[in-house]
Symmetry: C2
Subunit: 190 residues, 2 copies
């Protein structure tokens, strides 16, 4: 198979989509974000990457807290809207029913999974703020669980596919059992 170059700015893997919540000028605001990841296990920490001049960045700096809400497929329209319009120009505060944990970070009732975070560190890249938060609360809709645990096949999160054209895709079929399917592949000892 021949390898060919492509534009290095193209993100060629699926990105899970979240709505990042913050309080800005006293109002709840939400922004769609596809650049985020876990960055620590004990304590649990999530990092979100946002443009430095985003309205949400202002809110996180003001209140030292934010939320990461995972929308289901039924909220794809609202999520897309929150990714294309700034809270500086349109008021997103009444778009969702909001609840709070122990911080000022607004969370979305209509999203099946919600994380509440306190800001622990801010890193700068040339164009973005990387906000690292410690997870201080995690909430799931009662009917989106199996046993005590969130069940993503019920929560129906979606991913952003950028290369092209840009679409949101749902979660597909089960490919294999993690931490198990590779066990048979022993390699020589070093």
């Amino acid at each position: 198979m021949e390898k060919l170059g492509f534009n290095p700015r193209t993100t060629a893997y699926p990105m899970p989509v979240a709505l990042v919540g913050s309080t800005v000028d006293g109002r709840p605001n939400f922004m769609a974000v596809a650049w985020f990841t876990k960055v620590n296990s004990r304590p649990p920490m999530i990092m979100v990457a946002l443009g430095k001049h985003k309205h949400t960045a202002q809110g996180i700096k003001e209140n030292n807290c934010f939320s990461v809400n995972i929308p289901g497929e039924d909220k794809v329209t609202e999520t897309d809207y929150c990714g294309t319009v700034s809270g500086r120009h349109e008021d997103k505060s009444t778009l969702f029913d909001v609840f709070h944990g122990n911080t000022k970070a607004p969370m979305i009732m209509g999203c099946p999974i919600n994380y509440e975070l306190t800001l622990t560190d801010t890193i700068e890249t040339p164009g973005n703020n990387l906000f690292i938060g410690e997870v201080v609360g995690a909430y799931v809709d009662e009917d989106k669980r199996t046993g005590e645990t969130p069940d993503l096949t019920k929560a129906k999160p979606f991913m952003l596919i950028e290369s092209p054209p840009s679409h949101y895709h749902g979660l597909g079929h089960q490919v294999a059992e993690a931490y198990n399917v590779g066990k048979r592949l022993k390699q020589p000892k070093t």
Copy 2:
């Protein structure tokens, strides 16, 4: 709908899976990573979060470069193996056919998408190194494109679902067009 708490250490969203390549003690080594994200657009930068004592972390520090390879579903067994066994104990150097760009970062021929990165910054969380790299090369299999661009419906990347039990899932159906479906949702001006 009632909101219930869950273990804040549980990652309750799909995580794309990559194989991070580095040269360690002169040998190519690959580690499966689900904690990574884009963190800058111009120039393109990707961040990967790895345990501080990982063999791969040593290789990145030694050579100031690494690769991010996106496996297709046909490599799920090898990927899972690379996520469960350290290169410190078993020799992963012959598991894949390797190619190089302009750095010492080994890339995997059998993965349809490959990014080559030079290390620009290292951040520490309590348990992890966050390695930020600038993308200096991007490669795609000739037959995994539509036009000039990588096509993920052909590349067939997969996601790790942690909550429970842990499985890999493929990309599912198209939910909506991004940067478009939300346009109808005008909210009041601020």
